[in-house]
Symmetry: C2
Subunit: 332 residues, 2 copies
């Protein structure tokens, strides 16, 4: 590994190694997001797809397939499938969350309207099913259609659990598995399946994606209160949106009566006043909720790493391990 | 055919003939709309699925498969798939149209919220793909995922064509193929495919569904200005929502300058005053737009009938022909 490699981030190194495949994925994405009849579709989709996301999920699929020795053409389709499902989910999420910004740019629902976001999201979902059908691999179809159902289920669960202080860590984990980990684990699992690897290897790839996805989301939720790095996240966004994330669930679990009353006022009733975020941060620290959340992220990252370490050593395997380390490095 | 048969409507007779299969479809639907983690999902879905829709689309699949001699179990899955896609589309349509009523009851977006309608719709889409994957028939997967993409494309096209008086009859037909006929034709086509019928028979089933769907939608759009039967539709809903449907496209095409100015004011600008609907109806009659629209519906119904008549005679085939006759009987 040369000095430049040391300096660049693991997902940038992975993107460099997978450059030709990523180029094919981008070509396929552009091809399939086109619409003969409805030019609004590529407009909306391009806004999001070309917005410079890190393409982390399609890279997981490409890396998993390649490290498993796959030499056919369909990991490209699967990577594009995963990106389409992700993009469709983002479009619908922004409608549900009434978001105005994503990746520092105005959201599609703001630039066009909610209607376009809903319908173009549906179009991308349908396109993703066409793409996966192209592979003619039934196991892959099962994995990805199951993942799509788990994602939607997680999103609905998150909706009904919102602002509900009785949300448990178990429910939080189900939501996280749905909204984030299901697509990560499907992305890595299908890489092994398309390569025809044996069940135990496919299971290890699933476990890696599942644990990586959970660690990724916990870190994201932690940074919302932790901040202090260059993530561009504003401290307190989840607090203001009254989202029940792990730090808050942990703080509420060890709150005394007066503190419980505080959480009920700011989260359940949404009656937030000046100084409340500072009070919340103080309580999160006092009860060690941030530190406990950090430990949880590290535990999941360790699970991801050990799952990946059961697989034969290769450059791509090690890059996937580095990505996992990098995810939690933001809170280490 | 006995006297009772004569008196009942063709879709009721079809439902009677397919009663055992429809019961299996309902059981499968209830099973698959369940969610271990998110009880909101079956609540929202049941509101719509149990609301007493006619189950026309799943009946098309069941009838097509059975008349083709299919004796396996998967026409049940395909019928449930088609109903799930239809239900998901309704949920998203009501969000897009900001509807408050469907089948005489408050819509899900009104009873719960837009968020639930978007996410539960996504869940049903994903479930529909799981159901079709169960069939392990790749041709069926291609047909249904193509249909899902065509539906979403048609909906986006309708959105961008809304209130646009330059909409042509060609664009109208594309919208109708997307929003209605694509699912009808996929429903009948997969019945023939799952039964392993030769290409020409499958093509005839597709043509029947396509033409039936187009006739169905044209009749629906015509009744919005025609009324006068027991459909429960309010005359002028599309006018008030400024939808560009076939009667209006035809009337605008033969409008003089003064009439064009009228249409621009009421449809493009949405400046509607008392007496405008009456004026619109008058123009639609003067230019023969309603009669021309009616003729178009009859032409498509004739196409559906002649496609079906290329297939071997059977009770189910004749019931499908009766259904087609019944669709246009409302405007005959």
């Amino acid at each position: 590994m040369n000095v430049m490699d040391q300096a660049t981030k693991p997902h940038e190194r992975l993107a460099a190694v997978l450059a030709p495949e990523l180029e094919s994925v981008n070509t396929l994405i552009r091809e399939r997001m086109a619409s003969k009849h409805a030019p609004r579709i590529p407009e909306v989709t391009a806004h999001l797809v070309e917005a410079g996301g890190k393409r982390l999920r399609p890279m997981l699929t490409l890396a998993a397939a390649k490290m498993c020795g796959y030499d056919g053409p369909y990991h490209i389709h699967l990577a594009a499938t995963v990106e389409f499902i992700h993009t469709a989910t983002l479009l619908h999420d922004d409608v549900v969350d009434e978001s105005e910004k994503r990746r520092g740019r105005p959201t599609a629902n703001l630039l066009w309207d909610n209607k376009s976001s809903v319908l173009v999201g549906d179009y991308l979902f349908a396109r993703s099913f066409q793409l996966m059908t192209d592979t003619e691999n039934l196991q892959v179809l099962r994995i990805l259609s199951n993942a799509a159902a788990t994602i939607a289920e997680g999103e609905v669960l998150q909706l009904t659990a919102a602002q509900d202080l009785t949300t448990t860590e178990d429910i939080y984990l189900q939501v996280v598995r749905g909204k984030t980990a299901a697509l990560f684990s499907a992305a890595t699992e299908v890489g092994g399946v398309i390569a025809g690897r044996p069940e135990d290897e496919v299971k290890a790839l699933f476990d890696y994606g599942d644990a990586l996805g959970i660690a990724f989301q916990i870190v994201d939720d932690l940074l919302d209160y932790w901040g202090g790095d260059a993530t561009g996240k504003n401290v307190g966004d989840d607090f203001r949106e009254r989202k029940l994330t792990l730090p808050l669930i942990k703080a509420y679990a060890s709150a005394n009566d007066e503190e419980k009353a505080f959480w009920k006022r700011v989260i359940e009733k949404g009656d937030q006043r000046e100084g409340d975020l500072e009070r919340a941060l103080d309580l999160l620290n006092t009860h060690g909720a941030l530190e406990a959340t950090r430990q949880e992220a590290l535990t999941w990252a360790a699970k991801a790493k050990s799952a990946m370490e059961t697989l034969p050593q290769s450059e791509l395997r090690d890059l996937l391990i580095d990505i996992n380390d990098f995810v939690v490095a933001r809170v280490s």
